[in-house]
Each structure stands twice: as structure tokens, then as C-alpha cells.
Amino acid sequence: MRDSPTHFQLTITGNEKVGDRFFLLSFENPGVSFRPGQFAMVAISGEPYPLLRRPFAVSRTPEGTLQILYRVVGTGTRLMSYWKKGRKVNVIFPLGNGFEKIQNACILVGGGSGVASMIALARELHSRGTPYLLCVGTKKSGELDPHSSVFQNPPLNVKFATEDGSFGFHGTVLDLAEQHIHSFTCAAVCGPPAMMTAFLERFPDVNAMFSLENHMGCGTGVCLGCAIETRNGMMRVCVDGPVFPGKILLPEHLK
């Protein structure tokens, strides 16, 4: 079901701009089995700069293409935005635990670059026919194009919230989620630490899984750079996570 982590040289088949700061990177699929929520450590260049690999959630289109949806936030993602079709990229994949198979109606809550981690899960629930709703939050309209293939291939059940009300629901993605959460038995959440902490406080009784986005050194469990304190002791986000049940998280240690 999950292959063990391997080095791949993946060939880029597309790197499409899908919003003001989001890109959708597509790769040839080397035939790997992985779970939604598992991620890849992507080497940005063959040079010693930038030095570290960057972690990105991976999803799969109905045709089997591997995809990374990424937000341009710093040096690494900026350099990635220049990548062209045909380039080979060195990745270690699949990493992390990923989400357990979800059997019950689930609400997916993604904020900022955290939306990316929800796509693979939404696509899986969609293809399996499990009821779900994907709530996507951005600051304003245009950040992430609702008509792009991110949400259309397959056509996901998605609602958008913008903080300035310029598109979709007016408010935070948590405000949006609040309106629908009663229809679901579980939740999956990914976003900035402040958003995840707020979710824990606002919906303490919801059975929620959180995908964390710590900065990572190795991604393979050997450096302890990503380790956080949880109710179950010290845990490495990269191998013990990135998906954790909300009940073991300590809000003060989310960042």
C-alpha cells in the first residue's frame, strides 16, 4: 500500500501557474504506491544552494500523474517556479505516515500552502465516493484559481473562503468550516500554525487529523530537526507524522 522511500529522478511534464502565487507541478509517475498526506523531499538544484531539500505533499490525478501544488514563499519555491517541462528532478518519496483510510464523511480544511496537503486526500475521497467537503481559505481572491485543474481534475466538492470577502465565503476558512462541520464525522486540517491552533480551540470535540508543515532537515527521521513535543512524548513530524490526531497535539508546541 505504501512503498518505502526511494530516490527518484522524476521528469517534469508541466509546471502550471494556478493562481497569484501557486503553481501545479506535474511529473511522470514511476508507479509508486503512497497515501494522501505522504510527501516528497524535493532537491531544488544540483548545486549546494539552496542546500536542503524541500518537503511537498504529493497527489495523483485520475490519469495517475503525480502532482505537487506549491505556493511561492521563499528561495526554493521561487526557483521551482522557473522549472520547465522535461527537467529531471531528484526526489525522495514517499515519506511520512499519510492519512489513514477515511471511511466516514470528512471535512477537509486547508489554509494557505496547507491547501496542497488536502488535495490528495480530497481526490481519494472523491474517487472512492466517500462524502467530503474541501474548504479552501486564502486572504483574497486570485491567490488560487478555482477553475484550475487542481480542483477540476477530478471536479472536487470545494468551497472557498477569502478573508476580504473578494471571492466565495467572507471570512476565515474556519468560519467557513464552522457552517458545515456538523454534517461530518471527522476532519482533516492543514494550514499555518495559528490556524491549526485555532481549530483545536474552536472545535475541541471534532475528531480531527492535522497535517503539520514544520521545516525539515532530512525528512527521513534521522536529524530530529522537526521533532515536537506531543502528549505522547517527542515526535518527529517527518516519520511519526506529518499527520497527527488532534488529541495528541499540544497547541503551544505546534510551532
Binding site: T6, L51, N214, G217, V222, C223, L224, G225
Partner: protein
Amino acid sequence: MTLEIETGGVQLSTPILPASGTFGWGTELKNLVDYSALGAVVTKGISLHPRKGNPQPRLLEVPCGLINSIGLQNPGVDAFIQNYEKELSALSMPVIVNIFGESPQEYAEVATKLSNCHWVSGLEINLSCPNVHAGGLEFGSNITGVRDVIQAVRNSTNKPLWAKFSHSTHLFHLVEAALEAGSNAVVLLNTLPALAINIKSKQPVLGARRGGLSGPPLKYVALRDVFDVYSRFKCHIVGVGGIIKPEDAVEFILAGARAVEIGTGAMVHPELFIKCRNFMSEYLKNGSYESVENMVGLAHDDQHV
């Protein structure tokens, strides 16, 4: 032609080792790393009692380098032995356990416990650890600290000891103290002290404020120290710092190291171990050297000063 070399009392099948703290407890990467590349495994630092380590963030990437402040998180020596003994003793290569403590006595107690483990081939003694009884100055920063720790450990075990240092202007004196106190080899270098400030929050970036700099730029400082220490003592040296490509490992051997450890570089590229091993073989072959030993310190063979 052989890659085998005896280093500080440990027989290594290749001179390529992982650096402490970047290879977990030794077996996490079994699926990703070709262990035949490795002359030994080196564990993360182990202390007498478990430690949680430092608050997040613990890592900061800087140009061509990495600052870490993991803070020596570890389960403590008893849990370490209990949890990892089985897997580690099943490995077909030496296991070097990196140890540290808050006092010479603590180092000694950890060493005593590990002394009874047949699967432990040697101890790497991390001297870059604050001496709580001496105002937080690192043991490795002064002769007394080095001598006290190494002697205490030497009296607790017959296992080979490797004393691991950070860069210091007084490295000669410190190395001398370690060798006199019974260290079989010295390991050069640990990270450089470092700090970064977030100009928005006006606070240090790392949760623990201070951290250590590793990665490519450290290579040149480590090479300098290996070169100078070799030329002074001709002792057994393990070179560490900034290896990111196979050529770097060869540089260390030519400078005088008998083995190298790879940290940050292999965190990023786990394939680096096997690449280094293969490159080293080629280099031996092309130079018609019988063994790695014949390459050690060759950069010293000329006459100019």
C-alpha cells in the same frame, strides 16, 4: 586494493561514516542507504538521562549551510540500549556510539553502561557540550575539561575512544590533552557556534537562540584543522564537516584524516555515502594506491612552507 583501514582502534571496511546526529540511532535509513558504503555507523549523542532537546524552530537554512539547535534530544542510555540493541547488534559493521554528559562523571557512567555492550565498537566523545559546573563553558574549550572527560571515560571502558572537537584556536593543546588522556583518535570538527536574528520579531530565529553551523563552508575550516593537527601529531584523525560531494572526502584523506564522517550532506543526499565510496575506489585505482592508508596525508608531501 582495499578501502579497509584501522582508525582509532576500530577496523573500518571503508573510510566513509555518517556523522553523529544526522543518521538517527543507526538503522533508520536501511531502505534508503546502501550500508555497504559505510565503514561504521555513528549514533546521535547519548546521555545518562533522557533529554527532550530544544524548542522549535531547531533548524535554519543559511547560504550553503545549516544551523541546528536540536539540543541533544535523546532517550537516555538505558532506553537507547533497550530500544536499539537488537537492530544495531544485527548490523555487519562497527557501531560507534556518540556520548556526552554534563560532568565527567556523567560521561563515565554512560561509557560504563555501553562498555558492557558487545555490539558497541567504540565511543565518540562529544566534547562540545557545556560543562554545567564551569559556567557553561564547553568541556572541549580548555585543556582541563578535555583531560577530565577523557580520563574519566578511559577509566570506565577499554573500548576505543574518539574525542570529537569543535574548531578552536587552541586545538593543538586540546588534541594533545585528549591523546595523552587515552583517546585513540580525534574527530574534527563539530559545528561552529552560530546565531541568526529575525529582523521583524527582533528576536533570535531559533527557539534555543544559539545553534551550530554545519554544511559546505565548514569543510574548509575542518580541512585546515585536520591538515594542521596531522602535521603536528600524525595521530589518527576522523575528518568531518561540509562533505557534499565525493571529492570532498578525498580532500580530507589527503589532508591527513583516516576516515570521514558525512552529516548535513547525507541528510540532503543519502546517496552520497555510496558515491563517496565508489569515488574513493576509483581514486585509489587511478593512483595505483594499495589502500586508503597510502593516501593519508599526501597533501603534506611537498617541501614548501
